[in-house]
């Protein structure tokens, strides 16, 4: 394994300096981004970054240091600095941090893929996006048309003082198109697939199956049509959300709420805490009986799937909500003991230089049993909403308000006229308890979210919330425009 000797040098240095536990991560990332905007390649970029970081535990306090320079002297400096920081932290420590056991692993993992993106010539990738963007712009009235793709490769090596040595090669891909229409008093936009594209683990096949070209014209036309569409009404009514919007709802009102570091107050000053406190574990009705949510870092295709997390814990599915009852949290080795919950392998850092923390991994809402085409069936008056435009939720993850790009009236079980500016609002448990139908496996998609922010310094993580279109009863609609 590459970096094995360097890792051992770091661990030896940290131990000599006084670390009771230490781990080290070497990482290398390569991010390729191509974007086309109104007929021009507006971004063609390819960035690499490499370095290492050391996490040391001394007297119940953490220290962490990282550097881009991988030389013997820098390995020694950073290892010693991590221990120095831990010792300084220990002077203002609380009850003291201890780690739950995790079996040491000597392992390798690589993302399975069908088509290596490197085998697709860059010129072909550019031409694909130019064709897609041209088709979006072919819709008369589109002001700005865009199409883009990302290819992210991460190679990393983890070792700790307990004997773990883990080598991983991750590959994530995604693509999207976007149409913006500007009216006299209104700006409307549409994106495809979903809210910000289809992002998953895998190779170039992920970009091909997004099927941008076949949907480009339609999406452009929808953006233009929204300018003259009727305003979404206000009131309490039934709604059906597209799968990608349900995905965001899961992310904001389940995923973040069940990060155990938030529950314990570790994010209190920034990302916030959680209403889903420890006393609710095992008894709290989070949602209706249809609502089953699992964190599964092994889920095929899901954007956060890996073999092991950044503290060497093996990816393992853990139930979060079963039959509507809160039964679990996402936890790390330094927090799991407080809630007596299992480790799922969800502790991750944005890149080699940042501290690993609990992140929403693949937090999936299990498919229901209703064919998506029957979700409207017994709605007398309601709204169908598709793809997110605006999302806001309080720092305990209770009071939320979301807006979508596209709406349709639902009347007597049938899809009616197009509606613009659809918004809905509510309180997390009441909303999930009002969920009475979830689309079946045929409509379930592992929707990726490539830009989840948390922590200080801020870290961006890639998560997934697998979901199907779903129905919710008696929801407050249109409040954003009621003022």
């Amino acid at each position: 394994m590459q970096f094995e000797s360097e890792a051992q040098r770091v661990l030896d240095t940290a131990a000599k300096a006084g670390a009771q536990y230490a781990d080290v991560r070497f990482g290398e990332t390569r991010d390729e981004h191509i974007e086309v905007r109104n007929g021009v390649v507006s971004s063609l970029s390819d960035g690499t970054s490499a370095g290492f970081s050391v996490r040391a535990l001394v007297n119940g306090a953490w220290g962490f240091a990282s550097s881009a320079q991988i030389t013997d002297s820098e390995l020694d400096r950073v290892a010693a600095l991590a221990v120095q920081i831990a010792k300084a932290s220990a002077k203002a420590r609380g009850h003291g941090i201890s780690l739950v056991a995790a079996p040491p692993a000597v392992a390798s993992y690589a993302t399975p893929f069908e088509v290596d993106p490197a085998t697709v010539p860059l010129g072909d990738r550019v031409n694909h996006l130019l064709a897609v963007e041209k088709e979006v712009r072919a819709a008369k009235g589109v002001t700005v048309a865009r199409a883009w793709m990302d290819i992210w490769r991460t190679n990393k090596y983890f070792a700790n003082s307990e004997g773990s040595k883990i080598d991983q090669r991750l590959l994530q891909c995604g693509s999207a198109l976007h149409a913006l229409a500007v009216g006299e008093r209104d700006v409307q936009d549409r994106c495809f697939p979903g809210t910000g594209g289809l992002y998953q683990t895998g190779g170039y096949e992920i970009i091909r199956k997004a099927n941008l070209l076949d949907n480009a014209r339609r999406i452009g036309e929808e953006a233009v049509a929204l300018i003259d569409a009727e305003q979404c009404p206000s009131g309490t009514m039934d709604i059906v959300l597209s799968g990608d919007q349900v995905s965001l709802q899961i992310h904001e009102s389940i995923g973040h709420a069940l990060e155990l570091d938030r529950v314990l107050g570790w994010e209190a000053n920034f990302s916030g805490t959680s209403f889903a406190t420890l006393d609710k574990l095992g008894t709290f009705r989070y949602g209706s009986e249809q609502v089953n949510v699992v964190i599964d870092m092994t889920c095929p295709l899901a954007l956060a799937t890996h073999g092991y997390d950044d503290e060497g814990v093996k990816a393992t599915p853990v139930d979060l909500i079963r039959d509507g009852i809160l039964v679990g949290y996402m936890a790390g080795r330094d927090t799991a003991d407080t809630a007596k919950v299992g480790l799922s392998g969800c502790v991750r850092a944005e890149y080699w230089g940042r501290l690993p923390m609990i992140r929403i991994g693949n937090v999936n809402l299990e498919a229901g049993n209703v064919p998506a085409e029957h979700l409207f069936d017994d709605i007398k008056q309601g709204v169908y909403m598709e793809s997110n435009r605006s999302w806001s939720i309080d720092d305990k993850r209770l009071n939320f308000q979301f807006g979508c790009q596209l709406g349709y009236e639902i009347k007597d079980g049938k899809k009616g006229r197009m509606l613009k500016n659809p918004t809905y609002a509510g309180m997390t448990p009441a909303f999930w308890r009002s969920c009475d139908a979830i689309g079946d496996a045929n409509s379930w998609v592992a929707w990726g979210t490539p830009n989840c922010g948390k922590g200080e310094p801020l870290q961006t993580a890639r998560s997934c919330q697998g979901a199907s279109p779903s129905r919710f009863r008696d929801v407050s609609v249109g409040v954003a425009y009621a003022g």
Partner: protein
């Protein structure tokens, strides 16, 4: 931080190696080097403390009107040569952008802000940050509270050069303290920012946050509706950050999606409102040139209520036949130019007097999770947090449970009064603001 890491001569050598290696018609090289540390605390103890040292190079290669960008943090000869080659190869495969004017050739002098770099801040230790946390915790314990927040210090260097002779270098430091004081049913917030860590006063900030948490005990619920509100600087800053993003750049201006589009010279907000972009404000920590190496100009965005100007980079300056104001972001950039150092001219009323003048209203300490609802109407939604208070007959009387708001930013600036004291909040310099008829749309059961 070791001098060699951000030393001008060292970064110049890296820039020269990249420019020499490039076969492109035009080449731009940017190096951003940073040594940053942050000590984070909760429950009155340090739970995270980190430090990171990195230097990232970005190379923009231009072939005619085709562009490729490559990045690397491997700054040895081989790493630089590889990045330069990747940028060149990508440029060959790009399309021509007829509007691309070529890289800027500006050799205008940049005006550095005095005191940008403080050696003591660059040399701050984890022990110094932990000591600040201990001071904060002491204040909290006296008040039967606990705190969560961070203490940070950092040193940065930026160096830019291009094949047309542009060459810039800037070195700066920055530091911050962020405190959320937490009680059984209330919380309070205070923040401080300075280029000099020694300027920050952890005890005074802790006392301010603690006072808010103590005052906010036993919070009551407020009925949704329209209220007179006073947004303190951290809350107001989030409003203005959104305004900059959706409207003060040349890209949305050209697209027509900005509230400024078609309204330059027209009154769009109250006459008491003047917004500028000013990197050199003494309270700020701005850089005197943009990410193309063009000197930043002071730009009046809104002048006495009238839409004055948006900001430009070399691309949009050429495309829209306007002067370049020096507001480019790093290439490639899908947002267009943006103002990064917004300053709001103060009003004449001290905050305390402003509160005294409110018969029935709400004081907002901080906001959270603001998102855009409607770009053209500049409607945003968000939550209050960490100190929402009722004002009755000129006095802050009790704490309130948090509320959700839906409000047009431009609409609110049309019915506002600005306080007299300027403070720095993140990258903004601004006062508190009083807004009439502010819309709270729903509430929560916690403060």
């Amino acid at each position: 931080m070791p001098a060699e890491f951000t030393d001008r001569a060292a970064l110049d050598r890296a820039l020269d190696r990249a420019l020499t290696a490039s076969k492109a018609d035009e080449t731009e090289v940017l190096v951003a080097a940073s040594d940053s540390s942050l000590t984070r605390f909760t429950h009155n103890f340090v739970h995270e403390s980190v430090t990171e040292r990195n230097a990232q190079m970005s190379v923009r290669a231009v072939l005619g009107k085709r562009i490729g960008v490559a990045g690397t943090n491997r700054l040895d000869d081989a790493g630089i040569a590889e990045a330069v080659n990747r940028a060149y190869e990508m440029a060959k495969l790009s399309t021509e952008d007829a509007d691309f004017p070529g890289l800027p050739a500006s050799k205008d002098e940049v005006v550095e802000t005095p005191g940008s770099f403080d050696p003591a801040t660059a040399a701050a230790t984890p022990e110094m940050r932990a000591a600040a946390v201990a001071d904060i915790a002491k204040v909290m314990r006296v008040n039967d509270l606990y705190a969560a927040g961070y203490v940070s210090t950092q040193a940065d260097a930026f160096a830019i050069a291009n094949s047309k002779g542009v060459r810039r270098y800037h070195q700066g430091t920055d530091s911050a303290i962020n405190i959320k004081a937490i009680g059984s049913d209330s919380s309070g917030y205070a923040e401080g920012f300075s280029k000099r860590f020694s300027d920050l006063e952890p005890v005074a900030l802790a006392e301010r946050a603690a006072k808010k948490a103590v005052t906010g005990k036993n919070p009551r619920a407020l009925e949704p509706g329209k209220y007179t509100v006073i947004l303190e600087a951290p809350a107001f800053r989030e409003f203005l950050g959104y305004l900059s993003w959706i409207g003060f750049g040349a890209q949305p201006f050209e697209e027509g999606s900005s509230f400024m589009s078609g309204h330059i010279g027209e009154k769009i907000v109250g006459e008491n409102v003047t917004l500028r972009d000013d990197y050199a404000h003494p309270l700020g920590a701005g850089i005197p040139f943009d990410f193309e190496g063009v000197p930043r100009q002071h730009v009046s965005l809104i002048e006495r209520g009238v839409a004055a100007s948006v900001v430009y980079d070399s691309y949009y300056a050429a495309k829209l036949r306007h002067g370049n104001t020096g507001h480019a972001l790093p290439a490639p950039n899908s947002e267009g130019p943006l103002p990064l150092n917004v300053v709001v001219d103060p009003g004449s009323t001290p905050l305390e007097e402003m509160i005294k003048d409110v018969q029935h209203g709400v004081l907002v300490t901080r906001t959270w999770y603001i998102r855009l609802v409607d770009q053209k109407q500049t409607i945003i939604t968000g939550m209050t947090r960490d100190g929402l208070f009722l004002i009755e007959r000129g006095r802050v009387t009790k704490g309130l449970k948090n509320m959700r708001f839906n409000e047009s930013i431009i609409g609110a600036l049309g019915r506002c009064d600005l306080a007299s004291a300027l403070v720095r909040s993140e990258n903004h310099v601004l006062p508190a603001v009083r807004i009439e008829g502010f819309t709270f749309s729903s509430g929560t059961d916690f403060a």
